[in-house]
């Protein structure tokens, strides 16, 4: 029998759950759904505000230069996605399936690009292979500015994203299948072709799709190193910033949305297929003991690792020498951002504030959205709507999101217009931009907690909320810190979503890199990119240490 007190508590619980869910859903409608809707609506209205249907799409597809950039975007993204996935598969295979020494080191080096803006890779490429490049002779009669540079830069910065997907894919292989194949007379090569590769096919497809979308929606690399080669993302930037043609910008934004939406649904499909293939009794595959294979793997990973070190190393060198390549004396003058066009130390402090805000707000919001979806007992419809809202940002490229924010928050009859041009809107936009991964991470973490904790607490007469604060939140702290660190690093390095949204006094460091590079101050741009890299790495370390400290204090239950 339930006591009347228990009943009252449970009603309160339900109300609080509803309140949290409704609040999050409302925020989602405001900051995710509405900007997206405005973008779609604007694409069928002319700049003068008349409804024109799909006429602007037709005009876009009829313009030869724009056709050209559409075709180029598709082609370059496909090439970069193929090469990145292949290289990342080799790297992931070396890490997971061979006896290569120094795996932690190699893994750490491969994750360098995660902590720098995509622009950094492009700037480094210019320093290595550009007109004054250290290795310009390697280019022969060709040039790094253009398609080659876009592809190389894209491969470099998307590499860790592909690597993480493929490592998960290889690490969840069922080792018993390879054993069975060996007893049936299969050699290493046949096992690789018939057992390892088929088990990785979803991982490879997902990696291809992800890199394709990252490249087609990124404009940092193309902007810095693309030269005359226009792509969809630079078109969008030029339409909006250069020509202030928001309607045409919206049209390009919709073109960017299409591959991202396709990827979104493909990913969901693959994820379901992959988890179905993995049985609970699977045994982790043992790395091969072959020394020959380990040697090949070490060589392969060393070459790639050296490339990453060369990229970040060149940016650091460029930041600290007087005038590459003519005067190599060390200097700090490139860090005097206040003297540069489009720079200023203020942008760095803005970035720190924005990243800190995004880390806190993002982590709290992601925890509660995952909590409502996984743990609350309000109606299924509400939970599914929230889950959809939380995973939707994955399908919105940064540029399209940023444009949607301008159109919505700077639109007519907008009571929230005061947000426009503030640092807050940058925080909201960034939180939304990176929300899906954070939400899914939290969800995975909450799924590991036994569903019955809530039932136990309730039968013991505790309220749902007390379980939240005494059990669920403490046990989720490591994941919460991980998510906060994720928001922090991405808020520092992102360019695409915020490039339309900043006001002169809220400019960010990553945007300053773009603007200084645009103004010809390449060395200060490199200096700022390096500063971002070290800040992101430091932030990640700090979150790691904090998480470690909290772990040692509150997570004793994890030890056996």
């Amino acid at each position: 029998m339930r006591s009347p007190v228990g009943f009252a508590l449970s009603t309160l619980d339900r109300q609080v759950q509803w309140l949290v869910a409704a609040l999050l859903l409302g925020l989602g409608l405001l900051f995710v759904f509405s900007p997206l809707a405005w973008l779609l609506v604007r694409s069928v209205y002319s700049p003068e505000g008349d409804f024109v249907g799909l006429a602007q799409f037709a005009r876009y597809l009829d313009t030869p230069s724009l056709q050209d950039s559409l075709a180029r975007s598709l082609r370059l993204s496909a090439v970069a996605a193929c090469i990145t996935s292949l290289l990342a598969f080799g790297f992931a295979f070396s890490l997971c399936m061979t006896a290569m020494p120094g795996k932690r080191l190699f893994r750490g080096v491969a994750l360098i690009p995660l902590m720098s803006p995509s622009l950094l890779m492009a700037i480094s490429l210019v320093y290595w292979f550009g007109n004054q490049g250290a290795l310009k002779s390697w280019m022969g009669t060709g040039t790094i500015y253009g398609e080659l540079g876009i592809v190389l830069g894209s491969i470099l910065w998307t590499f860790p994203h592909a690597l993480m997907i493929l490592m998960t894919s290889l690490a969840t292989q069922d080792g018993r299948l390879a054993e069975a194949a060996r007893t049936l007379g299969a050699g290493p090569w046949r096992i690789f072709l018939t057992i390892t590769l088929p088990q990785c096919r979803y991982g490879l497809l997902m990696s291809f799709v992800l890199v394709f979308v990252l490249v087609i929606t990124d404009f940092g690399v193309a902007k810095v190193i693309g030269g005359q080669a226009n792509v969809l993302a630079t078109d969008l930037y030029r339409q909006v910033i250069g020509q202030q043609n928001f309607s045409m910008g919206a049209v390009v934004g919709v073109f960017l949305l299409l591959p991202a939406f396709g990827a979104f649904f493909l990913e969901r499909y693959f994820r379901a297929r992959q988890s179905a293939a993995l049985t609970a009794r699977a045994v982790i595959a043992q790395p091969s003991e072959s020394r020959m294979l380990a040697l090949v793997a070490t060589l392969f990973c060393s070459v790639l690792g050296l490339v990453f070190i060369a990229m970040i190393g060149m940016a650091i060198v460029a930041a600290f020498v007087s005038f590459w390549p003519y005067n190599l004396s060390p200097t700090l003058k490139h860090f005097q951002f206040d003297d540069m066009d489009g720079g200023g130390w203020e942008t760095y402090w803005n970035s720190l504030q924005m990243a800190g805000g995004a880390a806190v707000i993002g982590a709290v919001a992601a925890f509660f959205s995952a909590w409502v979806v996984e743990k609350s007992r309000i109606g299924q419809g509400m939970r599914e709507s929230l889950n959809l809202m939380a995973t939707l940002p994955m399908a919105i490229p940064g540029l399209a999101l940023g444009l949607g924010y301008i159109l919505f928050f700077n639109g007519p009859y907008q009571p929230l217009q005061f947000l426009y041009g503030s640092l807050s809107i940058l925080v909201f936009c960034t939180v939304v931009h990176f929300f899906s991964t954070a939400h899914l991470t939290m969800l995975a973490s909450l799924k590991q907690l036994d569903k019955e904790f809530e039932h136990v607490s309730e039968t013991l007469g505790h309220s749902f909320l007390r379980t939240l604060f005494s059990v669920t939140i403490p046990m989720s702290l490591p994941a919460i810190f991980e998510v906060a660190g994720y928001f922090f690093v991405n808020a520092l390095t992102t360019v695409s979503a915020v490039v339309f949204l900043y006001a002169p006094e809220t400019q960010l460091a990553s945007v300053a890199v773009l603007n200084m590079d645009d103004a010809g101050d390449v060395a200060p741009a490199a200096a700022m990119a390096v500063l971002i890299f070290f800040t992101a790495a430091g932030g990640r370390l700090l979150f790691g240490l904090f998480s470690h400290f909290v772990l040692s204090r509150t997570q004793q239950w994890r030890q056996r």
Partner: protein
């Protein structure tokens, strides 16, 4: 003639010995079961025989030539894994054909069909493993292992993942196929019933060593250690002291009996094992034991402390004052409406002399 010879096999993982100096041989056409509790090293031994794991020390010979360092793909042994490890992206037939690389396409197909027919699945070749039941997957795994005509068949707990009914049916089927093909076979199991029913010879393992190796019947009838006696079937262990004229069990001296080929040291203690179903129960004060067994039984008074109903049989725990221990007794259920003996009944237990088996205290022979 022995086909497989295992000599002095030792396996240690980071200092912990999983196998200690194990030697074993398998003859032509023989079905050998490795039986033991989990963690006794039986699966490790199987993995070393098929070549997936390598021994720390020791040698393996097959048909007289050494195979210790031969990789698994060159041993020509068929293996059925506990989880079956069927390739999920291949159909049943493609799974069976996986090991038939040396054959041409049509011959491959023919052989695969033949194997599927052998396990009664000729109609299921086009199905994927996920579309088959557990028992069917098990048969496909068996067909896949047998298809390349292996010189030795290795089965790692092949039935443990199946329902009890399916398991019993497959026991007969596997043995029948093994007999028909005459292929030497080693099966790992922790299920003693399975081992006793299927094997020509049972190798009982404990803690990385072979505890006893014998035919199923002998293993059951004449355990050579406390471990064997306790692991295979249920057993009561009774202490006794050897005296000149016989054995002293409890306070009473029992005359010597031919089946007690016990050590002749007078004054030494021995342990005697007796199966619960070999003890008869009579009412207190009854003279029936004397009639039924003449003088060839140890008769002890006792009190029933616990009654257990197990369907086909009744189980009783009887407190035996003379031995100061509780003996387990089992009787067939012949259809009575109530338990033949209630709790607290005073009874007489009769243990035939022939049922009392001396067991050495240490596992060594």
């Amino acid at each position: 003639m022995a086909q497989l010879e295992v000599q002095g096999l030792t396996k240690a993982y980071s200092g912990v010995s999983v196998l200690k100096n194990v030697s074993l041989s398998v003859d032509e056409g023989e079905f050998v079961c490795l039986l033991g509790p989990s963690g006794c090293g039986k699966t490790t031994l199987l993995r070393i025989i098929c070549g997936i794991d390598r021994p720390s020390q020791g040698h393996l010979f097959f048909d007289g030539s050494e195979i210790t360092h031969l990789p698994p793909q060159r041993r020509r042994f068929g293996v059925v894994f506990q989880s079956y490890a069927l390739f999920p992206n291949l159909t049943a037939e493609q799974n069976v054909r996986y090991g038939l690389q040396s054959l041409k396409g049509p011959q491959q197909r023919e052989r695969a069909q033949e194997m599927l027919a052998l396990v009664g699945l000729e109609a299921y070749g086009e199905r994927f493993p996920a579309q088959l039941s557990g028992g069917q997957q098990q048969r496909v795994a068996l067909a896949r292992a047998l298809a390349p005509q292996p010189a030795l068949l290795l089965l790692d707990e092949p039935l443990s993942a199946l329902d009890a009914k399916v398991r019993e049916g497959l026991r007969h089927e596997i043995v029948a196929i093994q007999r028909r093909l005459g292929i030497p076979t080693i099966m790992v199991t922790h299920d003693q019933e399975e081992a006793l029913e299927m094997a020509d010879r049972v190798v009982l393992m404990d803690n990385g060593e072979i505890a006893q190796e014998d035919s199923p019947l002998n293993l059951y009838r004449a355990p050579t250690s406390r471990f064997s006696a306790g692991f295979v079937g249920r057993v009561n262990l009774i202490s006794a002291v050897i005296e000149e004229e016989g054995l002293r069990i409890g306070p009473t001296l029992w005359p010597a009996h031919p089946s007690w080929s016990a050590p002749s040291d007078v004054g030494a203690s021995v342990t005697l094992a007796v199966r619960p179903q070999q003890i008869s129960i009579f009412p207190e004060g009854s003279s029936l034991p004397l009639v039924d067994f003449a003088d060839d039984a140890v008769v002890l008074p006792g009190r029933v402390t616990h009654v257990r109903f197990a369907g086909a049989s009744w189980g009783f725990e009887v407190q035996c004052g003379a031995l100061n221990q509780v003996l387990r007794v089992e009787q067939m259920n012949t259809g009575q409406a109530t338990a033949p003996w209630g709790t607290d009944s005073r009874v007489l237990l009769a243990i035939p002399h022939a049922a009392l088996l001396p067991v050495p205290a240490s596992p060594s022979l």
